[in-house]
């Protein structure tokens, strides 16, 4: 009885592990890319409204699109997320510089 319980527990643990690994390795879909890309573009538009876009954001967005065109949605999603992070950093920069620039001024 004790042996059977142990076997069941091991089987359960193994199946949980396998399921977890499978979901982690699951390939990204086109829909995942579209959603990640839209989020990155929206963040970059926010930077544009502050007149402070970065060239690297645009380049990373272009790379994401290229990866999606070749069907590599894992890379496309990862690049979209990177572009979103860059866009958010440029927005943060523009916002913090609204006051921070004064520290550099020659007086």
């Amino acid at each position: 009885m004790r042996n059977t319980m142990l076997k069941s527990a091991l089987a359960l643990a193994a199946s949980v592990l396998i399921a977890g690994a499978a979901s982690a390795l699951a390939a990204s879909t086109e829909a995942d890319f579209k959603s990640a890309y839209a989020a990155a573009e929206a963040a970059n538009q926010e930077a544009a409204s502050l007149r402070n876009q970065w060239t690297t954001t645009a380049a990373t967005l272009a790379d994401a699109k290229k990866a999606a065109e070749t069907g590599d949605f894992d890379a496309a999603v990862a690049l979209s997320k990177e572009a979103e992070a860059l866009a958010r950093a440029s927005t943060y920069q523009a916002t913090s510089e609204k006051e921070a620039w004064k520290a550099l001024e020659i007086r």
Partner: protein
Amino acid sequence: MNVRSATQLASAALALAALSFGAMRFAAAADTPDPVADARAFQKFFTDKFPKVKLDDFVNGPYSMNEDMRRQWEEKEQFPPYDFSLDLGKEMFSKPFRNGKSYADCFPNQGIGIRQNYPTFDEKEGKVVTLELALNRCREANGEAPFSYVKDEMAALTAYMAFTSRGKPFDIKISGDPRALEAYQNGKRYFYTRRGQLNFSCATCHVQNPGERIRAEVLAPALGILNAMPIYRSEWGGMGTTSRRFTTCNSQIRGVPLEPQSEEYRDLEYYLSYVSNGLPISGPGARP
């Protein structure tokens, strides 16, 4: 509460109010732009930092900071690389438009020896007008298509106009119009604001590090940096306008450049030219 403590309380409240009012006035005064004081402090910063460089020599950019480069430049000036552009600019300037008028009709003193007065503040429009912008407006007003702000034709025209002003000190005016002061302040803010993925402001290179190398280049001081415009840059293999300089600076620090002659760039040019008031026009220039 007796009369005495009421009086004390009222006096304390009054004193507090007076203090806060004073502090508010001080803060307002500290925030009010003072271009004259700015220009004085700006020029003093550079002359203190580089005591061996004469004030007028700052217009020679990296050559005022580096002896070897200066010698090479002086030799190069025997046959300056901007000469072709200068000749082209002179020819273009004197050639009438299709309607018979010419650039001379658009500018005071027929456009000769006036570069040191640009940018100017147009009170009608309420905005800064640079020489490049004025040239394109002149073309359009006479039925001609505007030139690209970053290409050879505009550089040639401004090279010729700068040449006719060589030696004349920058004389940028900030009129009593509060919008002129606002434009000046916006230009100053742009100059000191960090941007791009490299998190550089214009001041990072041209205030904090002039004379230092960034890769193979020696950085020019911000003081007098526009006096030499437009410039022939060996790196570009050709001439470049102020617009070209601003947009390439932005992309070099991984920022998306604004459109040439956008309000921000016009204000930046206004600020940078104003703080170099008194320094001679040396354009067209040559840079590595």
